[in-house]
């Protein structure tokens, strides 16, 4: 993990993602092209997200479109109680490819207890997330 020091916005890069704190309560996660997320990646991404948001409750926008795969262990980790407590809502950006399958598996099988929705439009995803903090 190599942290990129930028004046604004704070950004960190992990093996599989680039995580940006767009606003104090809004985190954008961009999955790297062809990335396959395993449990260790999930943990690393979570730690980085926590560090960037300094433990605040946040809205999360995850762009999964470039992803190639995600293991069951990683999906299970993404719905663990710590992440549930930290997440106000999460929007998953998908396309018609594998990301759509991954997103549906996550919502259908892992059943995270925080609000999660799939979007093909980033603009709509952001608007939906913003609705939770108005």
């Amino acid at each position: 993990m190599a942290e990129v020091t930028q004046p604004s916005p704070p950004t960190a890069e992990t093996r599989t993602t680039v995580i940006t704190l767009r606003e104090p309560d809004f985190v954008h996660v961009l999955v790297k092209p062809g990335a396959e997320l395993a449990l260790e990646d999930a943990r690393e991404n979570n730690e980085v997200t926590n560090r960037l948001s300094e433990g605040r409750r946040i809205l999360v926008l995850v762009d999964t479109r470039p992803a190639r795969g995600v293991t069951r262990e990683a999906r299970t980790y993404f719905s663990n109680p710590d992440i549930r407590a930290r997440t106000i809502a999460q929007a998953l950006l998908i396309d018609s490819g594998p990301s759509r399958v991954m997103g549906n598996f996550f919502i259908g099988l892992n059943r995270p207890s925080f609000p999660v929705k799939l979007f093909t439009s980033e603009e709509k995803a952001v608007a939906w997330l913003r609705g939770f903090t108005k």
């Binding site: 795969g69 995600v70 490819g97 594998p98 399958v101 099988l109």
Partner: protein, 222 residues
Amino acid sequence: VTDTQQPTREERITQLLDLVLQLAQGNLDQRVTPSLIGDDIDSLATGLNMLAEELQASIEAERGTRAELEARVAERTKELEDRLATIAAQAATIRELSTPVLKVWKGVVVMPLVGVLDTRRAQQMTEQLLEAISREQAVVAIVDITGVSVMDTAVADHLIESVRAVRMLGAEAIMTGIGPVNAQTLVKLRVELGELSTAGTLEAALRKAMARIGAGPRPRKR
């Protein structure tokens, strides 16, 4: 990965079909590697991989649960077997203690009975008494029922049968300690006094037995 190394569409579909076949055969650890194209075939590949993972996890969880249940059942079964063995041992001890036969003199045995006398215990009493008479070559068997609080007609009937069985062995049975309630029960059975030798107390029964075997106390010399 260069374009020249990318498998053709037909090859990718063949890979998916092979995976489906492997999964159908129960090889749930099989996976297919999606390409970087990100088309529908890759979506299917991703979905099949995730489906295989879910099936594998589900089966492993079920195996774990089953193994845990089997271990718990085995543990409980062992506990129950141990308890049953203890209960059986205790029951055997209680049975032996509940119908003791004492040899008080050569040719004389006494069976003091205490507590509730049910049919099973009465039957056991008969067996032990007959065995003791045979073993000790007893001539007189005293059955002391002073400590028997209640005796129903079935048990009383059994006692009478025991007395008859003692006679069949050539011995005499003397029943003692018959309280008012038990006396009434015996009367209800219309037991002939002639067939039942009785004594008011154990001492009287012993005197009677001694007289029967000719071993009464000798008169003191003056």
